[in-house]
């Protein structure tokens, strides 16, 4: 997956690039709008990450050029200004998502992955699996190592999310948004409690733990071999 980052602040650009590269993406970084637009139009990228305020051409202009060239690449905006008109403007021009600075890197990563997944519609799955954990989407049943695990509806949704995005660190805000439809930064520890309860049922009775906490970033479901 090839990403283009157009960001004029060197430090931000550098860390974005490093973080995304370490998450497994091929990334290219430019610091001005003019070369950003040139690359966006010629470089065959899977996703564009654009800052709004740029030297040369601003993010809106790049987006406009991309869309009028008939390219349907997903575009994620980074903005320091959370003005309503900015948002409306961006959506009118065809931006796919936006993040307001300051944002958490885990949030950015989660959004990038969502946008990249959006295009490729995966075939209708009937079950999700990791190691000996199996989630049956049709009968809405969960089994681990052949044992039936009883989950509440929300616990089931939470586990389904973790399984669908296994290996990805999911920030609390994304979990709250996907499972409970709460789309605001909440500083309550509800998600912690929810994860703790899910662990109690899914992990506690098994030696091989699957749900992991990534401190300060979120939660990830993966098989770790030690």
């Amino acid at each position: 997956m090839k990403l283009l980052i157009v960001e004029d602040q060197p430090k931000t650009g550098h860390y974005l690039r490093q973080g995304l590269a370490e998450a497994g993406f091929t990334t290219e970084l430019v610091a001005d709008g003019t070369s950003g637009q040139h690359l966006a139009l010629t470089g065959d990228y899977d996703l564009l990450i654009l800052d709004v305020m740029l030297p040369g051409r601003d993010g809106w202009q790049i987006l406009q050029a991309v869309r009028s060239a008939g390219l349907d690449i997903p575009v994620l905006f980074l903005t320091a200004r959370d003005a309503v008109e900015d948002r409306v403007h961006g959506l009118e021009l065809g931006a796919d998502d936006y993040l307001v600075k300051p944002f958490a890197f885990s949030e950015l990563l989660a959004r990038v992955r969502s946008l990249l997944r959006r295009g490729s519609s995966s075939p209708q799955e009937t079950a999700l699996q990791l190691a000996d954990l199996r989630l049956d989407l049709i009968r809405r049943r969960v089994e681990r190592d052949g044992q039936r695990i009883d989950l509440t509806a929300k616990e089931f949704s939470l586990l389904e999310l973790l399984l669908r995005r296994q290996g990805e660190v999911l920030p609390k805000s994304l979990i709250a948004s996907q499972v409970w439809d709460m789309n605001f930064d909440s500083d309550t520890n509800i998600i912690e409690v929810a994860i703790r309860r899910l662990r109690l049922k899914v992990d506690d009775n098994f030696p091989n733990k699957l749900i992991h906490t990534v401190r300060g970033m979120g939660y990830v479901l993966e098989e770790r071999v030690n």
């Binding site: 309503v84 709460m182 409690v193 300060g216």
Partner: protein, 448 residues
């Protein structure tokens, strides 16, 4: 030009114009009345004289008979110097006191001016009711009346002019002294600056018309003062709130860098830094949200919402926390409103979060929705002192002063954000409390 005139000059000119119009009107009416009165007097006088002349010339119907009586007539006329007489019959003049003067022919009263003298002319037959009777024309000198009327007119013009001038001067003085409170208001307004917002207009001394303005002005000063106090307190609070995490970051980073350490220590330090940074990012985001609200940029979408559904979704979200603390969550009633789902969920989640935090183990949090539209979040637990109730929605206010500042918990902006959202929806929020209970009341407008 007119717009530039001062209020006092404008009033003075208006007073003068009014006085001039009124006195002119009065003068003209009086003049007319005098004139009518004089005509009446003249007519009466002429009737009397006519009667006398008729009796003197009784039975005279030929010039011969007239010449016999002429001497008697002349004697009589000598006693009346203001009267001139002409007697004519069938084109002949029997007697003419004013030869060469053309008199009106028709019978009745007329006015005539001749050689600088004004006359009232009265034509009547010598013997009333006899056709072909000789015609009497009486000319009464009315110069003194006319003089009187002219003097009257001069006097009227003089009065109009002088009274207008006098009222202009008096009016200017009166307007100036009447407008003195306005000048004082201007002086106070001019003296207002960020440092002297405490000055107020003395409302009791203001005249009734200005009292309202003074009150509005004072209220405006009050609001300005309040907003300014809040703003300066807010800036001080921001600096204060950021100081703790910043000093943590600085100290920790410097200490960790003073000597080589095991990798695990660096990782631990970065994690700790991350927590502080996340707290700061949350604080900045919350403050930006509030700043947006302050600038009126919080524009809620208007979608129809069933409040009960929204509350139930939130209660489901908070259920885990409540279960952990053994607090029961309840919702009763329902209502429909128009509003922004995301914003309202955020607002209500702050209220629920707040309620849960102050409810003791085993207590309950009850959400009541009433038509009208009123939503209350009530929790059991220690009440809040009445003097603290209005402060709850202040930024950075914490009900529990012992709560460590810079803790990973709330910065104390939650209720302020809730209030901003409720206000952006055209509603209001307040808090009530008593022994053993606390209740937040949100009132929202009816959907249209």
């Amino acid at each position: 030009m007119i717009k530039r005139l001062s209020l006092a000059s404008r009033l003075a000119l208006l007073f003068a114009a009014c006085t001039a119009v009124v006195s002119l009107l009065a003068g003209v009416l009086f003049n007319r009345a005098s004139e009518a009165h004089f005509i009446e007097l003249d007519q009466q006088l002429l009737e009397t004289r006519l009667g006398a002349l008729r009796s003197t010339l009784q039975g005279v119907d030929t010039p011969q008979l007239f010449s016999q009586r002429e001497a008697q007539l002349r004697t009589e006329l000598d006693h009346q110097p203001d009267l001139t007489l002409r007697i004519s019959a069938a084109g002949q003049r029997w007697f003419d006191g004013a030869p060469g003067v053309t008199l009106p022919e028709s019978p009745g009263l007329h006015r005539l001016q001749h050689a600088g003298t004004d006359y009232r002319v009265y034509n009547a037959p010598l013997s009333a009711g006899q056709p072909g009777s000789a015609q009497l024309s009486l000319m009464l000198d009315i110069t003194h009346h006319q003089h009187f009327l002219q003097r009257m007119q001069h006097l009227i013009w003089l009065t109009v002019g002088l009274s207008a001038l006098a009222t202009a001067l008096l009016g200017a003085w009166a307007a100036r002294s009447g407008l003195r409170p306005l000048r004082r208001m201007g002086e106070v307004a001019a003296g207002v600056s960020a440092h002297s917002l405490t000055q107020r207009l003395p409302q009791e001394q203001m005249p009734a018309e200005l009292a309202e303005l003074a009150q509005a002005f004072n209220a405006m000063l009050g609001r300005l003062d309040d907003a300014f106090q809040r703003l300066s307190a807010f800036s001080a609070d921001i600096a204060h709130e950021l100081r703790t995490p910043l000093s943590n970051l600085l100290t920790q980073t410097q200490v960790i860098l003073t000597q080589p350490r095991p990798l695990e220590d660096y990782r631990e330090a970065l994690h700790s830094n991350l927590e502080e940074l996340q707290w700061m990012a949350q604080l900045v985001n919350d403050m930006l949200y509030l700043a947006k609200a302050d600038h009126g940029l919080l524009m809620p979408r208007r979608e129809p919402l069933a409040l009960a559904e929204e509350v139930d979704a939130l209660l489901e979200f908070f259920a885990l926390l409540a279960e952990d603390a053994q607090i029961s969550l309840m919702r009763e009633g329902t209502a429909h409103i128009t509003g922004d789902r995301g914003m309202l969920r955020r607002a209500l989640s702050n209220l629920l979060d707040n309620a849960l935090r102050f409810t003791p183990t085993g207590g309950e949090v009850r959400v009541r929705i009433e038509d009208g539209v009123r939503l209350t979040v009530e929790n059991t637990g220690e009440g809040i002192a009445p003097q603290l109730l209005p402060k709850l929605f202040d930024r950075f206010y914490r009900a529990d002063p012992a709560r460590r500042e810079g803790s990973s918990e709330h910065a104390g902006l939650g209720l302020a954000i809730t209030q901003s959202i409720v206000r952006a929806h055209g509603g209001r929020i307040f808090c009530e409390s008593g022994p053993g209970w606390t209740r937040f009341v949100v009132e929202l407008p009816q959907p249209d």
